[in-house]
């Protein structure tokens, strides 16, 4: 299929439809609105459901309902809206339901701003709602990846029966790049879901979708079982992209929009004779620790770059665990760092020496 120019938000929406998503529940918020608008335009023509909910809270619970019925369901929002969805995401996780949630991040806290940001990393990887649970989190860095990862997100949501987040940002959502849409599953229920609350048709005992366990032992047992699944995911699903890391002295770690800026900075640093490289996490949970681990011996220092005051840097430090220095550079509030700013940080770390 020929490449077409699409906005990240629209490309993601189209890819979700191609991945079999026929149930989308949304609420307007900048800078993700094109995604919902695209769904509103497309879904009625293909027998799908687009419904504008009365709030982000209602939207995520409609996703819970549609997913409970066995369907591939999705919602999207931007930072303040994800806070509202947190409750529902926790229930979805606690009910072992698949779902795909898109966060096109903007600056925060509070109403914040509407320009691109990566300040929801902690929220996505640590605390998208109450309780012991994880989401799988994918961080695309190109419009192409916005589309490729959404199919993977749906597949893994179904496979592991858990919510999966695409953590994007205003830059990736709004920008156009050439994209090739790859045909994926065209059905909205590609795998058997014998657990679904879709009506027992008098042919099996009733199914119950539930997250309430009043007996502590029962709840502990269930949560522990879920954590065994998380261990499998940590082993199987780590994804990262490496660029010029093999001989690198300075290894940058950045995801999504900021990784693009870092790549430019790495190229310029290499021209100056500085051996810089880049690890770009594609999964933020599970964190791609093994990609960092293999470079700890030869790297002299790590530099984590984010469009935040420093959130993912916690995970980099956990991986490095004191064995090498880990520096941080970030811009926040909706500012995209310039490649030169990052280059300066690289120079500082090398002490100006080549």
């Amino acid at each position: 299929m020929a490449k077409v120019l699409m906005k990240g938000n629209e490309a993601l929406a189209e890819a979700a439809i191609m991945a079999g998503c026929r149930h989308f529940f949304g609420y307007p918020i900048t800078p993700q609105t094109e995604l919902a608008a695209y769904m509103a335009k497309k879904m009625p023509k293909i027998g799908g459901v687009y419904l504008q909910a009365e709030s982000e809270i209602a939207a995520i619970n409609m996703v819970l309902g549609a997913s409970a019925a066995g369907k591939r369901a999705m919602t999207s929002s931007s930072s303040p809206g994800i806070s509202l969805k947190s409750e529902g995401i926790s229930y979805i996780a606690g009910s072992d339901l698949p779902a795909v949630i898109v966060n096109v991040q903007r600056g925060g806290p509070g109403l914040g701003g509407i320009q691109p940001s990566q300040a929801d990393y902690w929220q996505a990887t640590r605390a998208t709602g109450h309780g012991d649970f994880h989401l799988m989190v994918y961080a695309p860095s190109t419009v192409q990846e916005m589309t490729d990862l959404v199919a993977l997100a749906f597949d893994n949501a179904d496979k592991y029966r858990m919510p999966v987040m695409i953590l994007s940002d205003g830059m990736l959502g709004q920008m156009m790049e050439p994209v090739e849409l790859k045909t994926a599953n065209a059905t909205d229920c590609p795998i058997e879901k014998p657990w679904a609350a879709c009506g027992h048709r008098n042919s099996r005992p009733h199914n119950v979708i539930n997250s309430l366990y009043l007996t502590p032992q029962a709840l502990e047992e269930l949560v522990k079982k879920r954590y065994e699944k998380y261990e499998v995911i940590k082993k199987e699903e780590q994804m990262a992209d490496e660029y010029l890391t093999d001989d690198a002295d300075i290894i940058l770690v950045a995801y999504g929009a900021s990784s693009r800026i870092c790549r430019t900075a790495v190229n310029t640093a290499r021209k100056e004779g500085i051996k810089a490289g880049l690890i770009r996490p594609i999964t933020l949970w599970p964190y791609p620790a093994k990609y960092i681990e293999k470079h700890i011996a030869h790297a002299k220092a790590f530099l984590c770059v984010e469009m935040s005051m420093g959130q993912m840097v916690d995970d980099v430090r956990l991986c490095v665990n004191g064995r090498k220095p880990v520096a941080f550079y970030g811009r926040t509030g909706g500012i995209i760092p310039a490649p030169d700013e990052v280059l300066n940080e690289i120079r500082k770390l090398t002490g100006g020496v080549k």
Partner: protein, 249 residues
């Protein structure tokens, strides 16, 4: 020998966990009888709320989904839109439906969402131990209105059926009670009508059932029923507030 009374098929053979004298059991039975009589158990999905009836997924034999507090109508919307031929009902208390879930309730009605809501109004938060509900009566003493509900301070009770009757999407809004045999029979008719309207794709249907909470009202079963008659029915008159197929009160 002819069987004249038995457990509805749509109720599982497990004991209820409700307090003695509470009318949840009667209301569950009316819903289950309706499901039996309409022959819809196999394609019915119920949504349990947060509150005393949170574990009703253990009682109803149809598929069940437990919703976050107040969000049952949104969860039901997702279930219904996913499989429109299924019959979807929510079973919600007053705190769930008329406080934390007001937006979800009103907008499900606004959309004319083709679901059925069984709304159990007992004027108090039962599960958490007897706090003020949005439907607690003026001067009613609860754990969080120990000097009685002061309407100038805590606001007035919500009359849900009257409010929802103003919306285009509402097909049926009816208030019933289960305090005596005649009222139980009327309640059954209303619940059956609400489910029938859903089968006929007529839109949002809600049946508000005035109910008792002996434990938190501090009364015995008999006194509770009398308190309901003396205090709740005058404030929440029984009747049909909207019926697209019948007459509006």
């Amino acid at each position: 020998m002819a069987v004249v009374f038995q457990k509805p098929q749509a109720l599982l053979d497990v004991p209820f966990t409700y307090c003695p004298g509470c009318t949840h059991g009667i209301i569950h039975r009316l819903v289950a009888e309706t499901i039996d009589e309409l022959g819809i158990e196999g394609h019915t999905v119920g949504v349990a709320p947060v509150g005393c009836s949170v574990m009703n997924y253990n009682f109803f034999a149809c598929d069940m989904v437990q919703a976050p507090h107040g969000r049952a109508p949104a969860v039901a919307t997702g279930l219904k839109r996913a499989i429109p031929e299924n019959i979807v009902f929510t079973y919600q208390g007053d705190g769930d439906l008329a406080a934390i879930g007001t937006a979800e309730t009103v907008h499900a009605a606004v959309r004319g969402e083709n679901i059925t809501v069984v709304f159990v109004n007992n004027a108090i938060y039962g599960m958490t131990g007897g706090q003020m509900a949005p439907t607690s009566l003026p001067n009613q003493v609860t754990q969080t209105t120990p000097y009685g509900r002061d309407t100038s301070y805590s606001g007035h009770p919500i009359r849900v059926c009257e409010m929802l009757a103003t919306l285009e999407g509402t097909a049926l809004a009816q208030r019933v009670s289960v305090d005596n045999v005649k009222n139980v029979q009327n309640a059954k008719k209303a619940i059956k009508k609400a489910f029938t309207y859903q089968i006929e794709k007529r839109g949002f249907s809600i049946v508000e059932v005035l109910s008792t909470c002996p434990t938190n009202w501090g009364l015995d079963a008999q006194e509770s029923l009398q308190w309901l008659r003396d205090n709740m029915i005058p404030y929440y008159p029984l009747g049909v507030y909207k019926d697209v197929g019948g007459t509006t009160k």
